[in-house]
Assembly symmetry: D2
Homo-oligomer: 278 residues x 4
């Protein structure tokens, strides 16, 4: 993210036009952007203040803004369902993702979580991302490159049933069908005490993964859902908007633990395996 008040060559930028159409682009000297409302020369953007209005050759107005992580996620080209900012924000905070960490995910999908993780771990961190389908991985690569995060991400293509090359990673986010089938592999990749998270579309699947986590010595299990309700920002008619997203998935969090053989520890080990957050 640029410190500068001014848009510079190489910056990631966002143009917002009429009807809130958002376009995300990387500024390049000499470049041109074709929009439905005319052409915009990058050279007219480079050197402008962020937050200012710019115009296409036909006179259509746009605001020039730096995109937030949420903006980037909302505009991401996708073939698969992506995670929403409401879920990603809670995942980052609950898994303690921070600059400098080495974290993993599978599968990559369209790369929404990849981008979020790569942003949060910073330039000294690393994201290792597994995906089985080459075409899906290719789209994710393009998405990550487009936002300038390629150097922080290592892509691997594999059926993750075979396991992962890595060990001792700080955190692992799993977003695959039948996640309950890969828990031993995930455990092998995580460092002791490492953070695990997954998103699960159905209650039926949550019921399947919970005993597998317990059996594989994951504890401090937390299952939740995040609901986001927007409001109309009209000060004389303040009220929620009419409709909302009712469900994206159940979020599940757990920690890799190593219970002691000491019989004194059994009580605690049992307790954490049935934590219910009531």
């Amino acid at each position: 993210m640029s410190y500068s008040s001014i848009a510079r060559d190489g910056d990631l930028a966002q143009l917002v036009g009429l009807s809130h159409k958002h376009i995300i682009l990387t500024l390049k000297a000499g470049g041109e952007l074709q929009t439905h409302r005319g052409v915009i020369k990058h050279d007219n953007l480079i050197g402008s203040n962020w937050g200012t209005q710019v115009f296409s050759h036909t006179g259509a107005p746009f605001f020039l803004l730096q995109p937030s992580l949420a903006d980037i996620l909302n505009e991401l080209p996708r073939t698969t369902q992506i995670l929403y900012p409401k879920d990603i924000g809670y995942i980052l905070v609950t898994m303690g993702i921070a600059p400098g960490q080495r974290v993993m995910e599978a599968g990559t999908g369209s790369g929404s979580v990849t981008i979020a993780l790569a942003t949060a771990v910073g330039e000294h961190g690393k994201v290792i991302s597994y995906e089985q389908k080459p075409d899906v991985q290719n789209l994710a690569r393009k998405n990550i490159e487009r936002v300038g995060l390629t150097s922080r991400v290592e892509f691997k293509q594999r059926d993750i049933r075979e396991g992962f090359d890595e060990t001792d990673v700080d955190a692992f986010f799993l977003d695959v069908q039948h996640p309950q089938e890969y828990i031993p592999q995930v455990r092998a990749a995580l460092k002791p005490g490492g953070f695990f998270s997954t998103i699960i579309p159905t209650a039926t699947q949550a019921e399947k993964i919970l005993p597998v986590l317990k059996k594989n010595l994951f504890a401090f299990v937390e299952v939740c859902e995040i609901l986001l309700r927007y409001y109309k920002s009209d000060p004389t008619h303040f009220r929620p908007v009419d409709r909302m997203v009712a469900h994206t998935g159940y979020l599940l969090f757990a920690r890799k633990i190593e219970p002691s053989d000491d019989p004194r520890g059994r009580e605690l080990a049992n307790e954490v395996s049935i934590q219910d957050n009531t």
Copy 2:
């Protein structure tokens, strides 16, 4: 955050005992922790794997874990209402907080947002945090020091009506009573296009701040609330827990814009000032 699989001298750690009592501490060679269930010597923790069980001198079991940002926030000593992880995660993602940024907040309160911002901006970033009350600021200082983030935070004590010393910051989070009274000051501190966010307890206050934001040339206003619902993690009785937090506050986001004098831009400027996210 430590990369290591092993707890080391100086690491921030978390001990979780029976009944899920959480204790957050910094490991120091020679140190001792007094708990309700006996004494634990830091030297018995240093060198242990994260995720393992340890025992107090009376034999009470604990798990040794690295705390996530959410863990830290949930255990924060407080005199004021703190923000919840559900809100903080969404704020970080929607404001695009990232390593290396220079961001501000007022008021500091117990320091929960300060810690979240300081974690997200990393060691090359900076958080400037204003607070009017010296005693509140002192608690926040201790909280930030306790989690090892002091070098990233600059504290200032002031009635923010007088304005801020800084300009061109990437993002500003405002959490004060009557936030509508400080919008020009916040605008002066933000860089062009900068991100603004606040949390507002009542609908009445949301109605008051919305026209002030418009008047001070903030746009792309988004108002929302985040609801978090926990589930019992029992695979044979999967269901939501009985009670939940129903309200922490309305989250409000906006961008500092600089509309053009060009009459062609008027349409867009009007539109964004009444965005309603429907």
Copy 3:
């Protein structure tokens, strides 16, 4: 509602066809129903068991069912926003609407609450319904007639600013713009201790009506919202549906009280006027 297991001449019926298209009709010997999938003779329905399948002259299948109040409301021809079953059910129970009562509403709108009230008060009860606009009232009349409840409803057309003819009604439901302007009139119509309810689209309006209720000696105020979330009824993929209605309105309930002049009663009178249901 018919007791019978068999559809009879004069019964209110519902035909549900492919894609869950619902048609509500009153069975009449010799009648014919034109559908997009062919003609159905009423005589083929009369005498059939409820719950059976019937076929149009082109062979399109339908189920023959008695409609519930919710079914009727969901299919109601409307020019105005109607209330949803989720809100109406809670209103009926919270206002204690029961067979034999004499209740009022203003405005009638498309008649959804009218139908609900007329159903609940039964054949020995009475609903008096005021509406200012003749064309809106005409639609409501047709809707009430269509479901066979005309004898229980008395329609009046008036600007309710002039007040109501009735006194001592058991309950009053107000659904008009600017409800805060008609509270003295509503009070005059209600019996002592009578139930008041209204639905309010915006927080801004709720703030306006609350002090007016207090001033006009309404107490035991309860403000709430009801959210309905549907689930996919697939036993192997049990989960909420993707989207939901986020807002229909704030429901507000209050009782007409008559505080004593006795100074000993002041404490209670003050208390109930600021009830907050926490």
Copy 4:
């Protein structure tokens, strides 16, 4: 429910005292009510206007009110979990419960649904309520008698595995453990096209009952949950209260259908059995 503006001998009444303590009682000439704040003679209540303030012999103030169905349910003496007004209101409206119907439930529990059904079917309707445990049934009998609805309710004590005596009832509400085990018995009691509803605490149980309903020719299945959020009724600080009930149960509705042998009907029969309300 009394039409009168005046409390009369034999009326069901509610006294609301300081701290919103609610007491529900039946007025009897010569009776006395002992409260924590002194004695109130029924003769001082009989003949008073509803909504007025009355005083105990120690001078403690109370409001005299008629209780709504919601008030009665909220104050019901209970040994088991009772249903909340938010759920009961939606059940009544969705099952189309109306004056004059003959409806059933099992088990009776503390009688909360019994009271709601008996209120809604009126004096010409009938509720048949099965309960296996004699002591639970006895409490329900007392609760129903206390609110004056005994003549509308027929209690039966039985293990419902043996089936029900009744046939052709309009609607059946099932609230027992393992509801999936009694669906054929419920079907035998319902009239063709009859309404079925149950409340299910866990997702796991919902998954179990759904295929049983399909197999037993119930269709038009609807699964949902109702959330109720209260607001502080302070016009200058309008906002949701801090905490709420997050879960009471999943509500499930279905209709008893009788598919035709005609092959043309197969498409519709299949469709309704997988309805998902999306």
